[in-house]
């Protein structure tokens, strides 16, 4: 498992309930008195919604002020998101949410005034340096002062983070993509202030997969960036189909993202990760890492097993993918190019649109798919929508169809032609023959004349005449119905064997004159 790997890789992940132990960790030398104080506050009597909302908003503003000067207060909706997150957390992660609820505006105020004081001190110091510049100072002293300032700044930043720690979930949701600063914060806080991350991420995770097991809790200790990837990963696992359409609603400016285009071979390759030693291929990086353990102890170290995280220092450009098939709407050269969001989207899109449909549904034998997951989804519902009206509407239940027919004048149920070939209409002697034939319907037509002039010929034709390939698909419905009405056609084949002296044309005229009579 991927998550297992990351668990081992993180030296600070000593216990899965690490986040709940955040209180204990506040004794970390780098944490500030205010922070510890925050946890000593009396607990909230009860989770009063309105109170909470107000509080959250207030704290959010305070958080924003020091970190991003001049940035506008985020819209209220953010708070609501956060609020929803909190709600989700309640059942499974109550200990963590309690830790969060201990948080009090007065503590924040305390912290902020402390920060202000510190900033003032620093300001004075810098002023001093500026003034001394003109006088001329020995370089040793200057460097010493610079170091002093750096240390102070660092401590200020750190305290700022720990103050803002509890607000991180909302901050992440709204700002992580746009603000490189926050990404840095995340990076910074990792080793130094575990309590902050713990709280922050624990609120994200439950939202994505409420009720997931311990392994997920371990993931919470991953860095925020990883966490984002995990989210993506989870999405993929849950609903691969949505991906294709998901980015349709998104309107990214043409230049705002980086376009990647994989080659056809790359897309269709069964494996994307290969062992450098034995060459074995894997679909997932984590599986490869697991595999590597067998090649020696050097691959068993936490570092080797850790998830290779991407460099998040620089503001990364959003990646979008293009389909290598020329002329495709998903191809970057297309006029109305619509990019694909992830590699998985590319794979599914390419298979669905530009590849043969090699997976056939074993139940209906008609539906074909190129993506296995699509077949699985279809098989779940295959045969359910088998009630079809002449107007093309399908129903999963017979009584619904009959209700529909009773309601509308002239509508009749369409006959599932497939059923008839199973030998309902055949004498029992023919049964075995019929069954064997079902596999390759197309061949039977050719073999008819050799069968002589028996009744079964007629039956065979009957079974095959309107053999529909995709009968239930509403698209093909009209076409099939046309064949069904054209009853003279199958007869020609048959007539040749038993009534060779009758010209096919004469049949047709007979049939047509008959129908003329009717009108």
């Amino acid at each position: 498992m991927d998550s297992n790997g990351s668990l081992r890789a993180n030296p600070w992940a000593r216990s899965p309930s690490l986040t709940s132990a955040a209180n204990g960790l506040s004794s970390d030398p780098l944490s500030f008195p205010g922070f510890g104080l925050q946890h000593n506050q009396p607990k909230w009597d009860g989770p009063s919604n309105s109170d909470y909302g107000i509080r959250a908003e207030a704290s959010f503003k305070e958080f924003n002020q020091p970190s991003q000067n001049g940035s506008p207060p985020p819209p209220d909706s953010n708070n609501e998101i956060e609020f929803a997150d909190q709600e989700n957390c309640h059942p499974s992660e109550s200990s963590q949410t309690n830790g969060l609820q201990d948080w009090d505006p007065s503590v924040v105020l305390n912290n902020l005034s402390f920060l202000e004081e510190k900033i003032h001190q620093l300001q004075n110091l810098v002023h001093l340096i500026v003034r001394q510049k003109g006088v001329g100072q020995p370089t040793e002293l200057v460097t010493q002062e610079q170091q002093l300032i750096t240390t102070d700044l660092t401590s200020i930043i750190i305290q700022l983070i720990s103050t803002a720690g509890s607000l991180l979930p909302s901050a992440r949701n709204s700002l992580i993509n746009t603000s490189p600063l926050l990404a840095q914060i995340g990076q910074l806080q990792g080793p130094t202030v575990p309590s902050g991350t713990g709280v922050g991420i624990s609120c994200i995770q439950p939202q994505k997969n409420v009720g997931k097991k311990m392994s997920d809790q371990a993931m919470q200790t991953d860095l925020p960036n990883n966490c984002e990837m995990e989210q993506n990963y989870n999405n993929v696992e849950h609903d691969p189909k949505d991906e294709d359409d998901a980015d349709d609603g998104e309107s990214l400016a043409p230049g705002s993202y980086e376009i990647l285009q994989l080659e056809k071979e790359e897309i269709l390759a069964p494996h994307t990760h290969f062992c450098t030693i034995c060459g074995k291929g894997f679909k997932r990086d984590a599986n490869l890492r697991m595999h590597m353990r067998g090649h020696g102890d050097e691959y068993k170290t936490p570092a080797a097993l850790a998830k290779p995280h991407k460099e998040s220092g620089s503001p990364k450009l959003i990646k979008r993918y293009s389909c290598p098939y020329p002329g495709c709407k998903r191809n970057k050269d297309h006029k109305k190019f619509q990019p694909l969001k992830t590699i998985l989207c590319v794979k599914n899109h390419y298979k669905r649109t530009h590849c043969d449909k090699s997976y056939t549904c074993s139940r209906c034998n008609t539906k074909k798919f190129s993506v296995m997951a699509d077949l699985k989804t279809h098989e779940k519902h295959c045969g359910k929508d088998k009630w079809l009206c002449s107007c093309g509407t399908t129903f999963s239940r017979k009584d619904k169809l009959f209700g529909h027919i009773a309601l509308f004048q002239g509508h009749t149920p369409a006959i599932p032609l497939d059923d008839n070939t199973k030998g309902v209409a055949e004498p029992p002697i023919q049964d075995s023959k019929e069954n064997s034939k079902e596999g390759n319907m197309n061949n039977t037509f050719g073999s008819i004349p050799s069968n002589g002039n028996e009744v079964q010929n007629v039956m065979d034709v009957k079974g095959n005449s309107d053999d529909p390939i995709n009968y239930f698909s509403s698209l093909n419905f009209e076409a099939n119905f046309g064949v069904f009405n054209d009853f003279t056609r199958p007869l020609f084949d048959d007539s040749e064997s038993s009534f060779s002296f009758v010209m096919p044309g004469s049949f047709k005229s007979g049939g047509e004159s008959g129908s003329d009579n009717l009108q």
Binding site: K398, D399, F402, I405, A406, G410, H411, T412, P413, I415, P416, L417, D419, N420, V424, A425, E426, P427, I429, V455, V458, M459, V461, K462, S465, F487, T488, P490, L491, D494, S495, S498, F499, V502, S506, F507, S509, G510, G511, S513, G514, S515, N517, L518
Partner: protein, 610 residues
């Protein structure tokens, strides 16, 4: 020449009248007289062909038919229909109103649809016992928008979908029989009742329908006859729906509905006092007092069949005193039928025409004499296993019931030659069953033969004292016999077969266990009885290959032969099989039977040669 000139004097109208009054004698007339042939071709309305090969020329000749019966051509198939439509006289289908395709199992949906579409005024179709028919055939039938009558008995593949097709396509349906269409459920019936509001006759026998169907059916305002034999999922709750609905209901059949009790019938009856027919065979164990009370209201009741019910004298008395217009009463296998009860019954119901007293063992001569006295119109009397009666009762019967057409005396050991002599006064007799009446001899049979020329069905099963002389008399007197059972009349020999060969109309012959007849006798029958369709030769041990060869060669219309335990060589069986097949006439059932026999005989053959 002289006769022809005289016929020329008559107008066509008069000739047509003569033609109609000729009845079944028309054939010789049209064979010798061109005028009659012409008139026959022009006026003939019904065509029932025995063999498909003749259909095409016949259709050219008779182009004004309105009824076509193909029930004897089970192997007619789609291509044949296409041929008929293409090569038959133009427009023979224009006037066709009634199409009988019963047992035409070879016809597929495509052919059926062609046929139906070609007949613009088609009103009635019978596809009963086309057991392979399914929804697509039903869809083909639904093309006949003017259809009023449809019989789909035993179309095993028809589901709710097919029924829905018909219900939507044929909105004018008045008569529909869905007996044994086992796939049809409540949904289909419900839709039918919503779409076909003109239904007058509906048969849902043996369907797996529940009370919900009855709720739908109750909404049919024009329904007159409702048959639901063997609907074991319907109970009194369902029948209660009918109490309020179907205001015109005249006949209901709830036979073999296990869950129906007296209270359900009471609700039906109380809602429909104009009820004329009530069938409740084998569904009640006894009639409750309230139900009997209800029966008093049914003054217009004409037919009651309550087979298998425990009755009492009081019940029969109630029926007799209230249902004055009763025409038919079925008391078959009823417990508690006594002389007194029957006397009270018939004293009130003088119009009785059909009385079924099968297995009412306590009936004696006195009762039958009273029946004979009170019911002069009696047409059908069934006295099977009423073994307490003797020849005297038949004397009364022969004296009073001169209209009697059908009499069942199976297993009445009291019947002897004298009884038959009395009975022979009933000169209208058409069907007579004398099975197991071991006392009758050739003399008794001769009495019947001399006086009952209309006899068409005669059952002499195990009348062991009947011999060749009796058959001689029978075949000289009863020329119209179509069905004859001589099983186990061991005295009959090849001479008897010779006599039987004089029966030109014979179609159904049972010769089971006649150990004295040989191939020569069978050959005589095969040569002369052209209409023979069904032949039972089981345990006729002396018949060999040549007899079957003759059958295969001469009996063109043979459809079913039963001949287990007959020694046959394999070659002969194959010969029969091939000949039968070449006639393109035998039914699928027959073939499979033969195939089965082929195997059986093959084993015999191996045994013989080892």
């Amino acid at each position: 020449m002289l006769s022809e000139s005289r016929l020329c004097l008559l107008t066509e109208d008069l000739l047509i009248r003569i033609l109609h009054s000729l009845g079944s004698e028309r054939k010789p007339w049209r064979l010798v007289c061109k005028d009659f042939l012409r008139l026959e071709s022009a006026t003939r309305k019904t065509l029932r062909v025995l063999r498909f090969e003749f259909l095409l020329p016949l259709l050219r000749k008779f182009c004004n038919i309105d009824t076509l019966d193909l029930s004897l051509c089970p192997r007619i198939h789609d291509a044949a229909v296409a041929l008929l439509l293409a090569q038959g006289s133009p427009g023979w289908t224009r006037g066709l109103r009634r199409l009988v395709l019963s047992r035409a199992t070879g016809l597929g949906h495509a052919g059926l649809e062609m046929l139906v579409r070609a007949c613009p005024v088609l009103e009635a179709v019978d596809v009963s016992h086309c057991w392979g028919y399914g929804d697509r055939e039903a869809a083909a039938l639904s093309c006949a928008a003017r259809l009023r009558e449809l019989n789909m008995d035993k179309c095993l593949g028809v589901t709710d979908i097919g029924l829905a097709k018909i219900a939507v396509g044929c909105g004018q349906l008045e008569k529909l029989s869905l007996k044994w269409c086992l796939e049809i459920s409540d949904l289909g019936i419900d839709l039918l009742c919503k779409k076909c509001l003109d239904l007058k006759y509906l048969d849902v026998s043996y369907l797996k329908v529940t009370n919900e169907s009855l709720r739908s059916i109750a909404s049919l305002l024009k329904l007159e006859v409702f048959v639901m034999v063997g609907c074991s999922l319907v109970d009194d709750v369902g029948l209660r729906f009918l109490e309020k609905g179907c205001p015109l209901l005249k006949a209901i059949d709830v036979s073999r509905c296990d869950c129906v009790s007296s209270s359900g019938l009471i609700s039906v009856i109380s809602g429909h006092e104009g009820l004329q027919q009530l069938d409740a065979r084998y569904c009640l164990s006894e009639l409750s007092a309230p139900l009997v009370k209800c029966l008093e209201k049914l003054k217009q009741m004409r037919i009651i069949r309550i087979d298998g019910v425990r009755v009492s004298d009081f019940i029969l008395h109630t029926i007799g005193t209230n249902c004055k217009s009763l025409v038919e009463l079925g008391l078959s296998k009823c417990v508690g039928v006594t002389n007194m009860g029957i006397m009270q019954l018939v004293s009130g119901c003088g119009n009785l025409k059909i009385l079924d007293l099968t297995c009412c063992r306590f009936i004696t001569n006195a009762t039958i004499s009273i029946i004979a006295n009170c019911c002069p119109d009696l047409v059908c009397l069934k006295l099977e296993s009423c073994d307490m009666m003797t020849e005297n009762c038949l004397y009364q019967l022969g004296l009073n019931c001169l209209l009697l057409e059908e009499l069942d005396l199976t297993d009445c050991s009291g019947v002897d030659d004298l009884a038959l002599r009395y009975l022979s006064k009933c000169s209208e007799l058409i069907r007579l069953k004398l099975g197991l009446c071991t006392n009758i001899t050739d003399i008794g049979l001769a009495h019947i033969a001399c006086n009952c020329p209309k006899m068409t069905e005669l059952d002499l099963y195990r009348c062991v004292r009947i011999g060749d002389d009796g058959l001689a008399a029978l075949t000289s007197g009863c020329k119209k016999l179509t069905k004859l059972n001589l099983s186990y009349c061991n005295r009959i020999s090849d001479r008897g077969m010779d006599y039987i060969s004089h029966l030109g109309e014979l179609s159904d012959l049972e010769l089971r266990g006649l150990s004295n007849i040989t191939s020569i006798g069978i050959r005589a029958v095969a040569v002369s009885c052209k209409r023979l369709a069904d032949l039972d030769l089981k345990h006729c041990e002396k018949i060999d290959d040549s007899g079957f060869g003759a059958l295969a060669f001469f009996s063109q219309n043979l459809r079913q032969v039963s001949y287990t335990l007959v020694l046959l060589s394999l070659n002969q069986v194959i010969l029969i099989l091939s000949l039968m097949r070449s006639k393109s006439h035998s039914s699928a059932a027959f073939e499979s039977k033969l195939q089965h026999l082929l195997y059986k005989n093959y084993k015999c053959y191996l045994n013989e040669h080892n």
